[in-house]
């Protein structure tokens, strides 16, 4: 854990400094997300912020700035304080923040071209493990504590099926035969490498990433479980925002894919294909996720 705290702390300090530097005003729209890689995320979010700032002048928006926090709790606090107007993140953090602050889901983001994704749990073909039950007594590598598909979903899924999970400090730590141990690899690549190199018995990744790895990398691996699909990313807004402004923001975002400037901003924003409305049954799906999220409530409250 020591290795995780240092970047988190630095990101937090960064976001606080950023907030102090940009005092809120009526003419400023704040675009927020939770980040462990501030520089990378600012690079990703700033094109969208600039686009919105430029296209919302009619609503009295002078500029749009990026606000980063290092945790869901922090994000909920910012929203409550009116210091974050638009929050964009994957479903589990969004639902966790919504449980603490009044935000509403506005649109679905097709991050990296995908509207939704799901978790896969994979093992080496020669591991002898063919089902989740056989994971007991073995260790599974997950990415990081706030990853939706590489941690929350598989863990929630396993918990919902009655598995006992046990977080381990490293892969060398023994696990009880009735539990499924898990370790944070800090990176999906590490997860993959640990499984391939037999450091752990299983790994959890998003189906999108798993399929993007070359056959060379995944040829000896086998997926033994797939969790439910969830929206790839969600756009939310502070619930007390001006409805007219919200409508304009919605319109602006959904219209991006129709203008060259919008498409350019979409490409720069994490290779987003488009923003669109959530499907009709999306709320039911989100309810399922919320139910699962309760299983990991403790962690979500961090």
């Amino acid at each position: 854990m020591k290795t995780r705290k240092a970047p988190l702390l630095s990101a937090l300090l960064f976001s606080l400094a950023l907030c102090a530097a940009l005092p809120a005003s009526a003419a400023t729209l704040r675009l927020a997300t939770i980040s462990h890689s501030p520089a990378k995320d600012i690079d990703e979010f700033q094109p969208l912020a600039d686009y919105l700032g430029k296209n919302l002048k009619s609503q009295g928006v002078d500029r749009c700035e990026v606000v980063l926090t290092s945790s869901m709790k922090e994000m909920a606090a910012l929203i409550k304080a009116g210091k974050a107007d638009i929050y964009i993140d994957s479903p589990f953090p969004v639902l966790a923040v919504r449980s603490r602050a009044k935000i509403k889901i506005m649109l679905r983001r097709w991050k990296k071209g995908d509207a939704e994704y799901h978790s896969v749990i994979f093992v080496r073909k020669d591991s002898g493990i063919r089902s989740l039950d056989q994971l007991k007594g073995h260790i599974m590598a997950v990415e990081e504590p706030f990853s939706t598909v590489s941690y929350f979903l598989p863990k929630a899924d396993l918990l919902s099926q009655g598995f006992k999970l046990e977080e381990l400090p490293n892969a060398q730590t023994p696990v009880s035969p009735n539990s499924v141990g898990y370790v944070f690899s800090d990176d999906d690549l590490n997860t993959l490498a640990w499984v391939v190199k037999n450091q752990v018995a299983a790994g959890a990744l998003s189906n999108v990433k798993f399929e993007k790895f070359s056959a060379k990398a995944t040829g000896e691996l086998e997926v033994i479980h797939r969790a439910m699909s969830v929206p790839r990313h969600l756009v939310t807004y502070r619930a007390d925002m001006d409805a007219e402004l919200v409508a304009e923001i919605r319109s602006t975002l959904t219209g991006m894919e129709h203008t060259p400037e919008g498409l350019k901003a979409l490409a720069a924003f994490g290779d987003t294909r488009r923003f669109d409305e959530l499907p009709k049954d999306a709320e039911q799906e989100l309810a399922k996720i919320e139910k699962l999220s309760r299983l990991i409530q403790v962690e979500l409250e961090k």
Binding site: D187, L189, N190, A193, K197, F213, S214, K216
Partner: protein, 808 residues
Amino acid sequence: MRSLRSKLVSLILFVSLLVGGTLITYLLYTQRKMILEEFEVRGKAVSSLLAGNLRDPLYQLRINDANRVISAARLNQDVTSIYVLDQEGHIFSDGSEENPRLFEQVMNGADTLASLRRDPHQLAEYTDELLTITTPVTLPDHKLVGYVQVTFSLDKVQAHIGSVTGIAILICILLFLPAILLASYLARRITRPIRAMRDASTQIGQGHFSTRVSVDSHDELGELASAINNMVEQLDKVTVSKFYVNNIIQSMADTLLVIDQAGLIAIANRSALRLLGYEETEIIGLPAEDILGKLISRDPQGGIALRDSRTLEQNTETTLLSRTGKLIPVSLSLSKLVDERQGYAKLVLVAQDITERKAAESKIYNLAFYDPLTNLPNRRLLHDRLKRAIAASQRNRQFGALFLIDLDNFKTLNDTRGHDMGDHLLVEVARRLLISVREEDTVARLGGDEFVVLLKEIGPDEGTAATQAEAVAEKICLALSQPYALRGGEHTDYYATASVGVSLFCGQQESLEVVMKQADMAVYKSKNAGRNTYRFYTAAMLETAEAHAELEFNLRQALENDEFIVYYQPQTDAEHNIVAAEVLLRWQREGQELALPRDFIALAEETGLIVPIGTWVLETACAQLNAWAQHPHTRHLQLAVNISIHQFRQPDFVEQIAALLRTHGIDPAQLKLELTESLMLDNIEDSIAKMSAVKALGVKFALDDFGTGYSSLSYLKLLPIDQVKIDQSFVRDIATDTSDAAIVKTIISMSHLLELEVIAEGVETGEQFEFLRSNGCHIFQGHLCGEPVLPATFETQLKQHQSKIFSA
């Protein structure tokens, strides 16, 4: 040819380039090696640093940490790729988030991996553009956990090396320029004396033995110059220069050619060029046979040889071919010039132009053997050919034939129309004879108007040969009797005929002289047969000819022996008075019958004796007139003397007559010269001129034999004649032939009109006399009036006649 100086400069520059190039190449090689080594060291240092930082990520299998470690290094511009590899050589990290080649095998070669595992060390591998350094990543306990493979681009290194190379080349060029100058300077220092010696040697080689080499240096070149100077001094003393020899050759009057071993003209002097008509550039290199013709032959190897080796030993008269193909007669001397060093012989040809000599010889030969007028073989050549033909006929038993051709009346042509016309006729006759016979036959001119045709092999027996010869004789007669155009052009102005005598021979014992004589006799026969015909020799002819020859001999003796005498035949008037006499010639030989003119006049004319005989007759007549002038009863008499054409055409005929008149002091009017019509008309201008001149002396002229010839009245008017003599052939039948009577009447009438006296000869009967007298004839001559008698008899008869008259 490249000069020594340029060779020296080239050599120095080549050596400079070789040394400089080698040095530069070595320096560049070491520089490159150093740069690469330095680069490799730096690369290995980077790689080692990365390896140290990658121990944990590799050990913990943390790809993201490995990415983070190498991401900074990837920013280095020299680095093209960094791969973190696991123990098996699979890509563990490439520094990218996607890591697309994850677990791909990049370290090939089990041996390399095994080697690195056994002995972990840094491995540097080069390609043209890349340097790849593989560094094992080991834990402190030396456990191998993977590798880091860093690939560096060598572009900058290569660029660096390139710039170093460029600088090196620039330095090399900068050093090369002074090297050129230095080399040029040194080469000039060395070659200047050599050039001086070369120029001097060239001069010496051209025969300028006063040339000396001027080299001041005291080294080997100086010694060489001294040696050359010594050598040329010696040469000057002992050598005849090529220039000198060449001058001699060029100034030679004789043609000189030198032919090389390949049979090509190598040297030709000016006389040769002049003689053969070549330019020097044309003749040099010309094949010798183009000039020497068949004098030489060419062997298969291309060399030449003399067809007759004796040509080398003696002067030869031959011909050379000129540029225009003309054959030039030369006296040729050939010799071999053997070059022992080269092992071959050249041929030296010296020739003298003998064209003029040959022409003179040819002229002499022609003069000796050919008739200059007609270009026909002359008598000498004919004799030679006839001898050969007779000998040949004896061998092959084939008959031959000799034709002797004598032109009729040629002398008259010469006398009357001049020798030029005569020559023209002879040339044309020669031409016609040549085209009348075969090419192999001989046509010759003996002289004058005598031609000979010699036919060979015309038949194995006399009959066949005679038939062949007869055909040729007819052909000749026909050809020669065609009209001639002696004045040139197409207008013919003369008719000629020939008498031809043919003698057949067939190798009998006949000599050349006999054959010729036989042909001559046949000609004579032909002449006697009326001319314009031919006769074959027969044995009877020999007798006639011998008689003829004897007659000629005697005739020549007759004048000397005073054997000629004259008879006078009286000419009377209508009253029978003797008014004149015709002088008639008789030949009284001892022991022989009296010969009448018809027996010898033709021969006299033929032999030319007619002129002295005629003169003698005139002399005699004039002497007679002088004698008669002394007596009253004969003082009135005229004497009529026949004048032959040969006599009349004598250039001094008029002078002769005048001299006679002076000598004998007679009355010219008592002398009457009888000329035939044909004589006078033969050359009418000459006749008129001479007759007028003689007439001016007072001498009378009678036209003899009038009526037998052309009888042109217009000419009668022109000619200064006094009397017309009617030929006896008209008189003979005057009483019985009305035609003759009419002619006589006409002649008399015409004469009256022209105021000419008329005399009739051959009056034998009273009837004839009466007819003539009654028609106006003035004078009469014939048996009725008196026979020809000796002068003494004539005078006696005259006295008797006169006494009769007087008594009557």
